[in-house]
Structures are given as C-alpha cells and as structure tokens.
C-alpha cells in the first residue's frame, strides 16, 4: 500500500473553511520520467484539499513544472496513482480527459496565447471550447478583461501586448470559466509588484469562491502576501519538508525557496 503523507491535506485556510475537506487532488507514490531518463519526480504522496490555496516552491529544475503538468493533465505519471476531483485518472481513457481539463484553469509560464487571436478571443477560448454561445461569452470576457486592466486592449493581438499584458490575458483565460482547480506556473513573473498584488487578489477571490489554487513561484513576496496559503516544496523531484516548516509563515526560519 502506498505511503500517504498528510503534507498538504490540512492547513489554516482549510480548517477555517469548515473542518473535514474532501481531497481534490490525490497523489500516491507518483513518479514521472521522460523517456528512459532518470525520474524527475519521485514518490510523491500528497492530497490537496478542495478549496485550498497552495504555493509550490523549490529551486529551478526541482520538478515544479513537471508536477504542474501532472496536475493539469499534460502528462500521465509513469508510476503511482493520481486522483482528481474524486476520480482515478489512471482508469480514464484518453477521450475522458477533456472533461477533467475543463474543470482546471492553467496559467502557463510562457503564457501560451494563440498569437493570431485577439486578447478577447484568447480569453473567450475556454468558454467556446465548453460550448458556450457567443451571447454567453461576450459579457464575462469583457468583464474579465476589464478586471485585469485590459478592457481597451480587447482586440489587440498578443504580439502587440507587453509581457505583463500577455500574462494578464493568460490569467484571464485561466479563470474565465471559474475552474475548480487553478494551476499557475510563475504567474507574476512578468508583472510589476502592483499588478502582482492585484493578481494575487484575484486568485484569493477565486479561492474564496471555492477554487483550489496551486501556484508555482519563486516570488517570496507573493507567498508572504498570502498568509493563509500552504507551501509545498520540491527538491530533486521529491516533496520535501513534510514537517510543515515551510508553511507560511514558517514555523521556524527556512532557507530561501529557490
């Protein structure tokens, strides 16, 4: 039987939200390797509570992006068991995966905007993929673009936007469908501190509405600005520090997170 660590299944925020929370993500003895190389993720055992807010930290090359790929179903683990939204992913045929992906919002580190579409169309894409009509799409997309400060850039192509603006479009696209799980890879890497605070506020607001948030970041300021969040630290492909010393705020002084 796989060992299960209670690394992230309880926390301040989760407790505040009302005691026993169901797990939205469950990893049991999960390992990942690319091709025939060494494992980039090893023996991951954790549960993320529904409605939790998590920061994923760790040095470059620790496997953060690989772990996020497992979370947003861009990869299948090479071993172990992954559960998502209470269902086993290993049992799911490929055709079922879109059903899961539509419940997950993703902010990619490199934004991954479609370059020939306008900001509006990029943000609207998840809704259109989900089959929403144009009448249903128009209002929420305009509102979201206004929220991230891009109301006047709705028709702009990504190439004409700054890095920070592109990142805000990517974030707007990730949250437009109010996903149950939001996964963000360095979401504030290209924005100024003021916009970073606004984005964190957006994440927090979404979290209050019930979205589980997982943010991979090196930005200690961002972590410090979310005192209710929990920390996951990856080192050499393994989740380390299961004692909770990296909680925010740390229970004891901890080395710089990556």
């Amino acid at each position: 039987m796989a060992r299960r660590l209670p690394l992230c299944e309880t926390g301040a925020q989760g407790t505040e939200r009302g005691g026993a929370l169901s797990a939205i993500v469950e990893f049991d003895s999960v390992g990942l390797r690319y091709g025939t190389g060494a494992e980039v993720l090893r023996d991951l055992n954790f549960r993320l509570s529904r409605g939790g807010f998590y920061f994923l930290t760790g040095p470059s090359g620790a496997g953060k992006t690989s772990l996020l790929k497992l979370l947003y179903l861009a990869q299948r683990p090479t071993r172990g068991r992954v559960g998502l939204f209470g269902e086993e992913l290993g049992d799911q045929p490929r055709e079922e995966l879109p059903r899961f992906r539509r419940r997950i919002g993703v902010v990619f580190q490199d934004f991954r905007l479609i370059r020939h579409l306008s900001a509006f169309d990029n943000v609207a894409l998840p809704m259109r993929i989900a089959g929403r009509s144009e009448a249903e799409v128009e209002g929420p997309v305009r509102e979201m673009l206004a929220w991230v400060g891009l109301a006047d850039r709705a028709s702009a192509r990504p190439a004409t936007l700054s890095g920070g603006e592109q990142q805000r479009v990517a974030i707007a696209r990730a949250v437009i469908t109010q996903p149950e799980l939001l996964v963000a890879d360095e979401p504030t890497g290209n924005v100024d501190s003021d916009m970073a605070r606004r984005l964190l506020h957006l994440f927090t607001a979404l979290n209050r509405l019930g979205t589980t948030i997982v943010v991979a970041t090196h930005d200690l300021g961002l972590i410090a600005a979310a005192p209710g969040a929990q920390l996951m630290r990856l080192e050499n492909g393994s989740l380390s520090d299961p004692t909770g010393s990296l909680r925010n705020p740390p229970l004891q002084p901890a080395p710089e997170a990556g």
Binding site: E95, P98, F100, V106, F108, R112, H116, D121, E134, V137
Partner: protein, 289 residues
C-alpha cells in the same frame, strides 16, 4: 463526423492560415482535372467497345475466292434459315480497301479479287450450323465472324479502359496521400494552438473539425477549379471525340450516365479529402495525451 460543417465562426479563426496557401487546393485541382479527363476517356472507350461489340455480334462475312460464283452463292445463302440479311460488298469497295494495303494499281489485272458477302444472323441463330451449311453451298469459302476480326481491337479497348480505371484509382490514392501530408503539415504548423486547445479541454472531435473543414474547403475549391477546366477541355475535345467515336463505332462518346459519373468525381474527391484529413488528424492527435 459532419460536425465540421457547423463549426462556429469564432472557432474557425483558430487556424490562422488562409486558403489558397496549402497544397491541397492545387493538388485537388490538378488531380480532379486529370481524373475527369482520364475517366472520360475510359468511359468513351467502354462505350466504343460496347457499340462495336453490339454492332458485330450478329455480323459475319462469307469470303468467296471464286468471285464468278457470287450470284449463285448469294442466292443460296439467302435461303438458309437463320440468315436474316446477306449483302455482297461491291467490287469497287473491295478494290478500294485492298488498295489501302497494296497501293494504287497494286492489284493490277492478274491478282484475283475475292468476293465478300456481309451476313446478319437472326437473333439466336446457330452460327456453327450456318457456317457448315454455307461451306456446303460454296466449297472453299470462309465463314468469318466479324467479332473474330475486331477481337484484338476490342481487347485493346478493354485494356485501355482498365488502364484508365487504374489511373483514376491511382490518382485518388495520390490525392489521399497528398491530403495526409497536407493535414500533417497543417497539424504541425498549428501544433501549439492544438496543445493549448487540448489543455483547455478541447476534444479530438473539436480539433479535428477545424482541420477537416479547412481541408474540405480547400479541396472543394480545388475540385471545382479542376472540374471546370476538365469540362472545358472535354467540350473542346468533344467534337473530335464525337467524330472519332462516330468513325469507330457509330455512336456518341459519352452517355448522360457517363456525364453524371464525371460530375460526381469532384464531389467524391472532396469527400475523400475530408475523410482522409479527418483520419490523418485523429491519428496524429492520438499520439498525444
């Protein structure tokens, strides 16, 4: 499978590349043109073979070496049961025919010119029994089926007909191969868009519909262009073909049914392209998660 016909406008924009850029349109135009022309030739040959076959299936010739006995033999042959019609070939016509081979004056005065009687048998007549009877009436004569004479020609026509059909099939296969390459090329070009769509929860069906629609439209325009060009060429060539067919077989080169078949070829090419594109994209998609 037909979801691509109703792809919303906003989703169509996901594949940025405009039409008239990929190879599908041009290849479909050329292939459709060639397929129609080759198929028309094959159908015309088939019709000619049919007309020739029908024209000679009851026709025989009696070759009489002693032309002086022609009136007696002719009178006797006309009384044989099963012979519906017997008509001698005029001597002038015989000489003219032979001069094509021997040259003007080649016959001279000393070469004997055989007499020839064209005979039409009644339906169901026993050609073997009639042949034996004719030989009794005119010993030394030959009772020859026209079919036997034109058999090499008919065989050649059938071979050409099958060759045309094989070429149409080969061109369809080549078209499919090009569409597969075009679909894979488009797939690779739009790989990042597809990955993003997949990541946002797009199904294979949604992704496939975009490519299928794009390639089907390119194929449609290509097939239309190729079809119109082929129609023009066939109309221009039609006069000559009709004259040739008239000389050869005494009938029109293409029937109404043939024209319907030719008109359906571009439609078939478009459907084939759409199905092949769908299959190619689905195979490529299944290689990803």
């Amino acid at each position: 499978m037909l979801g691509w016909l109703t792809t919303p406008v906003a989703e169509r924009r996901l594949l940025s590349e405009g039409r008239l850029r990929g190879p599908t349109l041009y290849v479909l135009a050329i292939m459709t043109f060639a397929m129609i022309v080759v198929a028309a030739a094959g159908l015309a040959l088939s019709n000619a073979a049919g007309i020739v076959t029908r024209g000679v299936e009851s026709r025989y010739a009696i070759q009489i070496n002693d032309s002086e006995s022609l009136p007696r033999v002719l009178a006797a042959v006309r009384t044989v049961p099963g012979i519906r019609h017997a008509e001698p070939v005029p001597e002038a016509e015989m000489r003219a025919t032979l001069e094509r081979w021997l040259g003007p004056g080649g016959l001279g005065g000393e070469l004997p010119v055989p007499a020839l009687v064209n005979v039409d048998l009644a339906p169901g007549a026993d050609s073997g029994a009639i042949g034996r009877r004719v030989e009794q009436l005119a010993p030394g004569s030959r009772f020859v089926a026209h079919q036997q004479v034109v058999r090499p020609l008919l065989r050649s026509l059938r071979v050409l007909q099958w060759l045309a059909l094989s070429m149409v099939a080969l061109m369809a296969a080549a078209t499919s191969a090009v569409v597969v390459l075009a679909a894979r090329g488009a797939f690779d070009t739009h790989r990042s868009t597809i990955d993003i769509m997949h990541g946002l929860g797009a199904t294979d069906q949604q992704v496939t519909s975009l490519f299928q629609r794009k390639i089907a439209l390119d194929a449609l325009f290509g097939a239309l262009a190729g079809g119109l060009l082929a129609a023009f060429v066939l109309v221009v060539l039609g006069g000559g073909a009709r004259a040739l067919a008239g000389d050869l077989a005494g009938g029109p080169p293409l029937t109404l049914a043939d024209l319907v078949i030719l008109a359906l070829l571009p439609v078939g090419a478009v459907i084939l392209a759409a199905l092949v594109a769908r299959a190619a994209v689905l195979v490529a998609l299944r290689q990803s998660l």
